[in-house]
Symmetry: C2
């Protein structure tokens, strides 16, 4: 029992501002509360009326008798503070403020909102809203909104940053018979936010799936924690608004949501096992499937249909969604052939032909679901004059009850399938008007189960944190914003990455001596605090084979650096061992305002810059997650070896990703990091962090920053950071 419980199961409800005028929303709130079956006492609070709808009115909330533990407030904003004070004095500890006129209206409203929060805190009142439509609970039942339609009772909980989305979803779902357990419209979230409600729903036995429309989250870390707890118990499907630049701006002007980067949200959803919907239609489609059916154990789907065309559309959609047609066992086809009419297709997709009756559907579904090569069934009904959709729905429901494998359905129609659709929802088989939507819902069932799979706990990789800390502290003390090459390499080396032998030369003679010690061939790279993208200024010469080459390269590099960045202080030239040839990849990290350190992976060269083909995870990153990161990019195919090249050492990349994950977790001062490139040898050969770029929290002066190429002049600062920005 949390302190949110009274919002759902109050012992009595006061409606502060209940109106006698049926054209007012404050009348509708009272009407819906009463008509939608709330079993406890309802107390209209209205100083000018004695009774509304036969209920006795009270002039103020203080006169309201026991029991009462929820107030629904729908009065002009300026009067809300006083009403809330009254609730406090009356001992009410839960209030839903439906009224608008607060934070959403600018500074004045914000002040008012702060005031009601202060009052609520003082009286220990939990507050939903303001500027919301409140709560609907089909279990109690309780409806504090003015929507007018009471949803069918069911097992989907719906949480929303938009009251209108709640209203729209209720309307769309009602006629079909899609059932819900609770609706919570959060409004301005002056007090109760989405994460608290999610925590409540995680424990709610009446909600089998949680669906949410979110414009942001109040606190990234807390959301992540609660979402993980939630998905450990039930599916959680989210439609996050503000995916695009325009959407983010629109969301900010709507509820002032700090949308944060969509890529960070994506990474957070992955981490927490959250399923993502791309559209409102998908949100509802997926929630329905998740509420009704178990996940398929594999990708092999049997399609059972009474018409060829829609069957083909289902197959196309299944394959595009990552599932595939099952190959039916010969005995399965034989059993089908023994009963189905001539012309029926007894292979997958199984076509029962237009004359199929309910018992044909039951027979065919039972038969294919018994086939061990089938993980799920997608069943299609195109309405036929002589076939009852309700009978077919019940036959499908029976088959679903008899099998542990999931069934999804498409009833391709509207008016003539309506009763059948309602029967399907009663029987808890998800049904859609088009085969493609059924296919995608089935894929969502599969994806959700995979995302929610318990992840193996993993110890963080070993690291010499003290050594890294010393380097970073020293740089910070010197006021550096960028770690120099040797410093950055030392930091990642302390975290177990392999870096090539190197040394700093101040003169050409020193460079020659170093090269001799390291062994030819060597690379020479400019070393200057203000140059972070060395190759952009011609500051890198690779594959130098002899002394003459070293001297020439040294002179060239110093000259170029001075020419490109006039007045720069060239501290010298790094002489570095050349590493064996290999695939170039990039591993990077950045820091999201909401979710903290974000690790990125992409294939080097044009792949990141031209394609933005980068994958992300929140730190820490497990081996399994790191492997997924690689698989999600096109890099996987290149690393596996193209045209006879040997496969690259993918496990070395996995290790690098994990270690960078721990590094940025250990040092919040690191705001950007790039291994670019990380050179990966063939399997077993490991990887080399050849060039490491680490940016610390900003403490350098702007004038100094503006001289750094690639940081202040419009050139891409780092390809990965660039990709991150684009996200």
């Amino acid at each position: 029992m949390t302190d949110l419980q009274p919002f759902f199961t109050p012992r009595g409800v006061a409606v502060i501002g209940a109106s006698r005028d049926p054209r007012k929303l404050s009348y509708a709130v009272l009407r819906d509360l009463v008509e939608h079956g709330y079993p406890g006492p309802v107390y209209p609070v209205n100083p000018t009326a004695t009774a509304i709808r036969g209920l006795r009115c009270y002039p103020t909330v203080q006169e309201v008798p026991d029991p009462v533990d929820l107030a629904v407030i729908i009065i002009p904003a300026p009067a809300v503070p006083e009403a809330l004070e009254g609730c406090g004095r009356r001992g009410i500890r839960a209030a839903i403020v439906i009224s608008g006129g607060f934070g959403e209206l600018g500074p004045e409203g914000e002040a008012l909102e702060r005031r009601i929060v202060e009052i609520a805190r003082r009286h220990q009142i939990r507050l939903i809203g303001p500027n919301c439509i409140g709560v609907i609970d089909t279990i109690t039942p309780l409806d504090t909104t003015f929507v007018g339609t009471m949803p069918v009772r069911g097992t989907i909980a719906f949480v929303s940053h938009s009251g209108a989305i709640c209203g729209g979803v209720i309307d769309v779902a009602y006629r079909q018979g899609i059932g819900f357990s609770r609706f919570v419209s959060l409004g301005n979230q002056a007090d109760v936010n989405e994460t608290e409600v999610l925590a409540f729903l995680a424990e709610d036995p009446h909600s089998r799936v949680v669906a949410a429309y979110l414009e942001g989250v109040a606190d990234g870390g807390r959301f992540l924690e609660v979402a993980r707890r939630l998905t450990a118990r039930k599916p959680f499907v989210v439609l996050k608004a503000g995916r695009t630049g325009g959407g983010v701006r629109a969301a900010a002007s709507h509820t002032g949501a700090l949308a944060g980067s969509d890529r960070a949200f994506e990474a957070a959803f992955r981490k927490a096992g959250v399923l993502r919907a791309d559209t409102l239609e998908e949100l509802l489609d997926y929630a329905t499937a998740l509420a009704y059916q178990p996940p398929p154990r594999g990708e092999r789907v049997a399609v059972v249909t009474n018409a060829g065309g829609p069957g083909i559309l289902a197959v196309d959609a299944l394959e595009r969604a990552g599932l595939r047609l099952a190959s039916l066992a010969p005995e399965t086809s034989e059993r089908l052939a023994a009963r189905l009419p001539r012309g029926a297709n007894v292979h997958n997709p199984v076509d029962l032909l237009g004359g199929a009756y309910a018992d044909d559907y039951a027979f065919a579904l039972d038969t294919v679901l018994e086939d061990p090569g089938v993980d799920a069934a997608l069943v299609i009904l195109v309405p036929q004059a002589l076939v009852s959709p309700v009978d077919v729905a019940n036959a499908i429901g029976n088959a679903a009850d008899r099998s542990e494998k999931p069934i999804v359905a498409a009833f391709v129609g509207d008016a003539s399938t309506e009763a059948g659709v309602q029967a399907m929802h009663r029987r808890r088989v998800p049904v859609y008007p088009f085969p493609e939507r059924a296919a995608r819902a089935l894929a969502a069932l599969r994806l959700d189960a995979r995302r929610r799979q318990p992840r193996r706990e993993e110890r963080l990789p070993e690291a010499d944190t003290a050594r890294a800390a010393a380097v970073i502290r020293q740089a910070q003390a010197a006021g550096q914003r960028h770690l120099l090459g040797p410093e950055a390499r030392a930091v990642v080396e302390a975290y177990g990455l392999r870096v090539p032998a190197s040394g700093l030369a101040r003169t050409a003679a020193e460079a020659v001596a170093l090269a001799r010690r390291i062994g030819y061939p060597v690379a020479l790279k400019v070393h200057a605090p203000e140059i972070s993208h060395k190759s952009d200024v011609g500051g890198v010469v690779l594959g130098v084979h002899d002394e003459a080459g070293v001297r020439a390269a040294f002179a060239e590099i110093v000259d170029r650096a001075r020419r490109y960045v006039p007045g720069t202080e060239v501290l010298g030239v790094m002489v570095q061992a050349m590493v064996p040839a290999g695939r170039e990849v990039i591993v990077g990290a950045s820091r999201d305002r909401q979710f903290g350190p974000l690790v990125a992976f992409g294939l080097g060269g044009l792949f990141v810059e031209a394609l933005g083909d980068v994958s992300f995870r929140l730190a820490p990153v497990s081996r399994e997650e790191a492997r997924e990161m690689i698989r999600e990019t096109r890099a996987a195919r290149v690393l596996a070896g193209i045209r006879g090249e040997p496969p690259a050492d993918v496990e070395a990349i996995v290790e690098a990703i994990r270690r960078i994950g721990r590094l940025v977790l250990d040092f919040p001062a690191i705001v950007e990091l790039d291994l670019n490139p990380l050179i990966v040898g063939a399997e077993g050969e490991g990887a080399w962090a050849v060039d490491v770029r680490i940016v610390l929290e900003g403490n350098a002066s702007p004038s100094r920053r503006s001289k750094v190429p690639g940081d202040g002049n419009g050139l891409p600062g780092s390809s990965l950071q660039h990709a991150l920005d684009r996200g």
Copy 2:
């Protein structure tokens, strides 16, 4: 007036096989014909009845009186030939065979199908079906099907290879009030096929848009021609089933459709200005928008909504679909602010707030559509207790009538928006239950208009066809399946591509002499009829700078070739001028069974092999199409110059694509062609076809082919061909 006219506007209809039993489809056909308002005489043909539903019956079609020019046949398949003979003798020239039991059942049925085609030809009868549901025409009106629901009259023509898809679409569309002009279910297409019906609909003044569900086309060339004619007059939106491997197999087993490669279909649709839908829902969504509204002139959309959340979803969806939010002029926002309530958002998305009435919608839509910075409006209604959706629909309809800019709408609801949705369809404003679908429909309006834009006629590029013909003829005469390097280069040179100077050396000494004449550095490449992928066998050495290098490379190449392909005949070594450094791209061509020569473009290196990032067009390819091909791939970004590199000579690629397009058009004997790589210099520097691979129609023996690496041993034959195959 074509010979298909009697299928839609017959002067009288005979129903052969009409039944008295209301449980039979052959009763339903008669019922729908009469009840759905067919104005002409209806003649049931049934030897055992005297009257059905009060209509006099005729024992055979020959007794049927005038006027009659359409027969609907719904009797067991074996009886169809005789009935068709009767129609022929009676002078009926149009027959719809609803009965199944023909080609779809295997060899026996195929024979029966051939027989009815023979009878139809002999009597000059045009035949729709068999195994179809026939024709619905809301204009005449005429309904020959047994669906039971007469669609609302409208302007969408629907053509389908699946009768069930027709039935499903009618059912889905009916309650909303989406209107159609004609439905044609084609069945087995024994005679009339989709292309003929499309040609009819191109001329049909009652159809403003044509929507089709297709599983393939009867004749690629003819389809292309008819589709171009159609899209010159009206939008044509297609859902093509069989996009994936599984879908293709399912389609083949359904109607035996030769699906052909989906990439070739995509290219054909592009060429013909056809809009493609990915799902049945999209097909209907797009057709509705195209039937009602003009295309937007640009990408700038104003969103007008009564709720913030759905507005943000619309913005996200608009941006993801390639449109964007308009920036409203300051005066527009001021005009909105002057009237809308406090708290309303007067910037885009315009949020009228929940209390908005119909006149607020009308005012806001008029205001934003008058803004010259707005190309279209997307309007959202979330149902509110006190607002009439019908009034809002009429207000939107009025605004649409007053503006030349398109409006699309989302009414987020079902039962409570139903009357409003019907009013919207009457007012010809497309409406969807979710904002994202409205956004995508608007994007489809824009895309359709761009695809159907008249393309500038363009002369084919100049070419020395005689020279190319001579080379090809000679190779064919020699029984070659692959042109040798010099031959292939000569062919593309004859078509205006630039190839590096080269010569064939049979000895090292000849190679040295050639290199001297061409000028160092040179490349040496193996020259053997059986080696088409030279670098795979180590047959290429680049950047040879001196005589010693030429001798060493010559020896090495000959040795390797003999080692890798034992017994191969090495004719010598090509010595070739090295071309300046540049970007590597690939231009290729292949031949599709349905649509003929297909030209492909991709960026060289890993882009084609690892990413399959290739674009396609049917030959001939115009400059505009070639530019689109480049823009469609990620190559565009690389060619524009990354990290300060100069932009590549894109126009040189455009020329190469056009010229290869003409080449494969001129020589059907060329079945595969690759320029891999085509090396592209900086702007103005042109491009070099360094390596050219041309495969002729198979006339080499299999044993010989199997020796060719990359062709018979599972290695990728050509990266582009590989990408084509994956399509």
